[in-house]
Symmetry: C2
Subunit: 274 residues, 2 copies
């Protein structure tokens, strides 16, 4: 089962568009976990166990592991998800981007070393730099398009001429994704929930291709607006990520239960608008 098929199964059979982002900030992990052998892994395994039936994907952010010399923990964590929850795809959020020879190494890092089912990548360097990832036809390649941060405007909203018409750069990225890069049917795009109008514009361009949508929860994006703008006609096509609002729902002994409660509420809210 490839990445897109795995998502379809979770969207339809498990009735969820929710993705839980695994961004473990050691300063925010509940204090009582310091008594465990490995507080960070215990914390993340508990979050995974308490939310797995509610998600269409998990999305670990590699920087939170790399900053603290914890690549081994990231490997362990992805193994844990694959072993205990087969069928739930793992998106490695790494936003890689480099020339071909180097991109081959990044693709190996994501797909062979970490065994991720999909990876996020940056399009600035151009289509040839995406080829090494695209060649893994059963893996998802999730290209940054319209990001959820305020500075996303700086370049992504600049008007560029395409076929005699002016369109914002992010729409041109979406256009390239749909027409040039999706030969293997394994391309997705990142569009932030904080920009529902842009979600709608990208959906128009890309048809049924999946969208990874960060920006709800701690970043303040509106669930109703994002789902209504970004969904496919059949009410799916979205991987809606929440990280901090779920991970840090409680700092107490009940952190896993509270994480589940927030995840369930978010899943339910999303499903209202599908």
């Amino acid at each position: 089962m490839n990445y897109t098929q795995a998502l379809q199964t979770r969207w339809i059979n498990h009735n969820t568009l929710l993705c839980v982002g695994l961004d473990p900030d050691p300063r925010k992990i509940p204090a009582h976990l310091q008594d465990y052998d490995d507080p960070l892994l215990h914390f993340l395994r508990s979050i995974i166990d308490s939310t797995a039936d509610l998600v269409c994907a998990f999305k670990p952010q590699i920087a939170y592991f790399s900053a603290i010399h914890a690549e081994d923990k990231l490997e362990t964590l992805i193994d844990y998800i694959h072993h205990n929850y087969p069928g739930i795809p793992v998106i490695l959020d790494a936003k890689r981007g480099d020339i071909g020879a180097t991109a081959e190494q990044y693709a190996r890092e994501a797909f062979e070393r970490y065994k991720a089912d999909a990876v996020t990548v940056n399009p600035y360097m151009g289509g040839d730099t995406l080829e090494p990832y695209l060649a893994y036809s059963d893996k998802g390649v999730i290209v940054l398009c319209r990001t959820s941060n305020p500075g996303g405007d700086d370049f992504q909203m600049l008007p560029v001429p395409v076929n005699g018409q002016s369109q914002p750069l992010y729409q041109y990225v979406a256009h390239k994704a749909a027409t040039a890069w999706n030969r293997n049917g394994n391309v997705s795009l990142v569009v932030g929930a904080t920009y529902p109008a842009e979600l709608a514009a990208v959906r128009q361009i890309i048809g049924d291709m999946p969208l990874l949508v960060p920006g709800i929860g701690a970043q303040g994006g509106d669930v109703q607006a994002a789902v209504q703008a970004g969904k496919t006609p059949l009410g799916s096509g979205l991987v809606i990520n929440s990280s901090r609002a779920i991970l840090y729902a409680s700092q107490g002994a009940d952190f896993a239960d509270q994480a589940r409660a927030v995840a369930l509420a978010t899943q339910t809210e999303i499903n209202q608008y599908r």
Copy 2:
């Protein structure tokens, strides 16, 4: 001594604009090194020892380490350079880019974990995503502008309107770098040697800011054209990278001597046109 000062010292006192890129592909390491305890580290230390007096910087590419689970070797290597060749700055080529909270983690990865003197970053997500790196005022922040690969045209050459005039996106990135991001004097740009006209255009925009210039050697960029187009009026301002042509100059027992010979020839050729 901050990153820019370290470069100045190497450019002037050591008379070199050459940067050796450390991209260790295990398949290309001389076969006889397989007898050593750690062939990869032995190979790279030999390259460093044989070229250190000829370079203004070393640039390890992190993907080549991450793909093979060798982050520890990268730490060891950077320590080795700092300890044995103090004053030679280390550029971590990582091309990171993410929202602020995550960029903080990537900045920690580059500057605190690896103790790099500079890191390459991707501007697509906007100015706010660069702030966590810029805050390390003694470190170099090297922003992708006009990359050396063929697909660099896809987005970087698109005309965008700025102050009523049309200019290619990469020039607008250069403009932002010079006017908005360089408050601490620690910003550089990446412009490929394969595009001398663009090197000249960027030099016009950014004044004396340093440029990291990949693309000579294996990528085919012309040294004379690149130096003449990109240098400052005083004949410096450039960090001209060569990786594969130096690293893999020979597959034999003389690999370090041959690497030195290519590095020396490249340094000399560059200096002809300063």
